[in-house]
Symmetry: C2
Subunit: 159 residues, 2 copies
């Protein structure tokens, strides 16, 4: 083999490895495991809930001016979104990506679902109460939503 | 200063830097900019929509067995979630974190909102049609939802 052919052969080999690696990376990206997808799904749902929950908390605590329309919209969003996280806890999704979900979720699924439902019920009540725009009525119901988050986090979330 | 004191002084200095860095990192974490939060919010919303959209696509294409109840649930989820991404595009959130959103979104916001509304309308129709469980009726409406995604992505999403 002359030098030109050698160089060409090496170049082709290097390019092939690059192409194969890239295709494999692409496939890996496309074929995220169902567990990884579920974990990312529930994290997305919780992050959206937090996005709407945080400004309500700031208003309740007086750290932000109370805007009743904004509050009502956020309360409605949390109520609607509260139905979604449960889809992200299929059997086996205690592993598969970084997660703070404790394994107890799957051994005590009935209790976990019950706590999720309490959150849904309290969040739906908050959306109703928020329509009235009366902070005196909103505050205790906002507290109940927060407690429903906390009750579940204490038992089923690391940190 | 004797060796013991020197060592102690250095240890305290190192520990202080570690504590300060950790506190700063914590504060940075807590104080994500509103733009970053908006970008992460819309990405979370789109990823949740994709999670429910993908199995419907697989069923429509015959790559997965058609389960009408599963399909209807996913269609309902996409319809509900279709109302959320728009909250994640406040003025100024063309920057602040990795994003594929084009700057044109904010210069053509009326058109962008119109396209988002088309998606909401088509997704809501799909949820209705899906209740019937008839793939012959579902398929064209699923196509319309897909087109509404594509129409917006073509104008307003990189890649």
């Amino acid at each position: 083999m002359n030098l030109f052919k050698k160089t060409l052969a090496i170049a082709i080999a290097v390019a092939s490895v690059a192409v194969v690696s890239s295709v494999m990376a692409e496939e890996e990206h496309e074929k995220a495991s169902p567990e990884k997808m579920a974990i990312e799904y529930r994290q997305a749902a919780f992050s959206m809930i937090k996005f709407h929950f945080a400004p309500m908390g700031a208003m309740v605590k007086g750290k932000m001016d109370f805007n009743k329309d904004e509050f009502a919209k956020n309360a409605e969003a949390v109520a609607a979104l509260s139905k979604f996280p449960i889809h992200g806890f299929p059997e086996g999704s205690d592993k598969g990506a970084d997660t703070e979900a404790k394994a107890e979720i799957w051994t005590k699924m009935d209790d976990f679902k019950k706590k999720m439902e309490t959150f849904q019920v309290e969040a739906t009540s908050l959306a109703e109460v928020a329509k009235g725009g009366d902070m005196a009525a909103i505050k205790p119901q906002f507290g109940k939503v927060g407690e429903s988050c906390k009750a579940c986090h204490e038992d089923y979330k690391e940190n």
